[in-house]
């Protein structure tokens, strides 16, 4: 049952708590002094390769990466 109580503005706009907290965390990370900033931003990088299966065989893998050179 949906609550009739007042909801935060971001919830009213259709955001979830995860979205909200990730936006907050990212903004904080971007406001750090330099040696720390690169450290925390590199920690949040995601890198993986994904391949779909069709007819019992893996297709060409797609690499999803936050590093532009990879």
């Amino acid at each position: 049952m949906a609550s009739n109580a007042a909801v935060p503005f971001w919830r009213a706009a259709g955001m979830t708590y995860i979205t909200y907290s990730n936006i907050c965390a990212n903004l904080v990370r971007n406001c750090l002094k330099d040696p720390y900033k690169t450290e925390v931003l590199s920690r949040e990088k995601v890198h993986f390769s994904i391949s779909k299966w069709a007819d019992g065989k893996p297709q060409k893998p797609i690499i999803r990466s936050d590093n532009p050179e990879a």
């Binding site: 935060p8 503005f9 971001w10 009213a12 706009a13 259709g14 955001m15 909200y20 907290s21 990730n22 936006i23 907050c24 965390a25 903004l27 904080v28 990370r29 971007n30 406001c31 750090l32 002094k33 330099d34 720390y36 900033k37 925390v40 920690r43």
Partner: protein
């Protein structure tokens, strides 16, 4: 016989009245006694297997007198900042306002907003800026604080904060949809809190 019945009745009545509240329940036993007994009967030469529960220390009982220190666990997704650290006081940036937590605080769950978490220990004060998260304060003077991102206040760059604040104020004025407005509003809230943290 009747005398005994009345004493039994009186006793059950007494025990019902002194039953503790559900919040004061003792920590669950880590082993299943019936299982251990059955295991020992079947395989007496091998110790019963250990479960994750048997490696965890049980939750300490609520002491009858208020302890002098508050035990704090402060956890981030990638690190454990404070682990069972005994401090005098923490000030938590809850959505309902700044919340000072001393030993013996009533059990509470609080949602955190972007702001400064200060940990007071004697004359030392350690200040962290937390982005968002939750704080669980237990009746036994334990506080568990969970945040998505937390940084020491001195690591914040003033020029970046000013830049971000200006950027998001401008974004709020040009935002058309509700979602864009909310995103800009979050930006303003976070940067104002960061600004307040470095100036205050």
């Amino acid at each position: 016989m009747f005398r005994r019945a009345s004493s039994l009745l009186a006793r059950s009545h007494f025990s019902a009245r002194t039953r503790s509240f559900s919040a004061d329940l003792p920590a669950a036993s880590s082993t299943d006694d019936a299982f251990v007994a059955a295991w020992k009967k079947m395989i007496p030469n091998i110790d019963p297997p250990k479960t994750p529960l048997s490696f965890m220390s049980p939750r300490p009982a609520t002491p009858s007198s208020i302890p002098s220190k508050l035990t704090v666990n402060f956890v981030l997704p990638y690190a454990s900042e404070l682990s069972a650290k005994e401090v005098d006081m923490v000030i938590i940036p809850a959505t309902t306002g700044q919340m000072g937590v001393l030993p013996g605080h009533v059990a509470t769950i609080a949602e955190l907003k972007p702001g400064v978490l200060s940990v007071h220990e004697g004359n030392d004060t350690k200040k962290y800026f937390v982005s968002s998260g939750f704080a669980f304060i237990h009746g036994n003077s334990y506080a568990d604080i969970i945040a998505v991102e937390a940084v020491p206040v001195e690591q914040i760059d003033t020029s970046q904060v000013q830049k971000g604040l200006a950027e998001f104020t401008q974004k709020l004025n040009s935002a058309s949809t509700d979602l864009e407005k909310a995103e800009a509003q979050i930006g303003i809230d976070v940067h104002s809190a960061l600004n307040a943290a470095i100036t205050g």
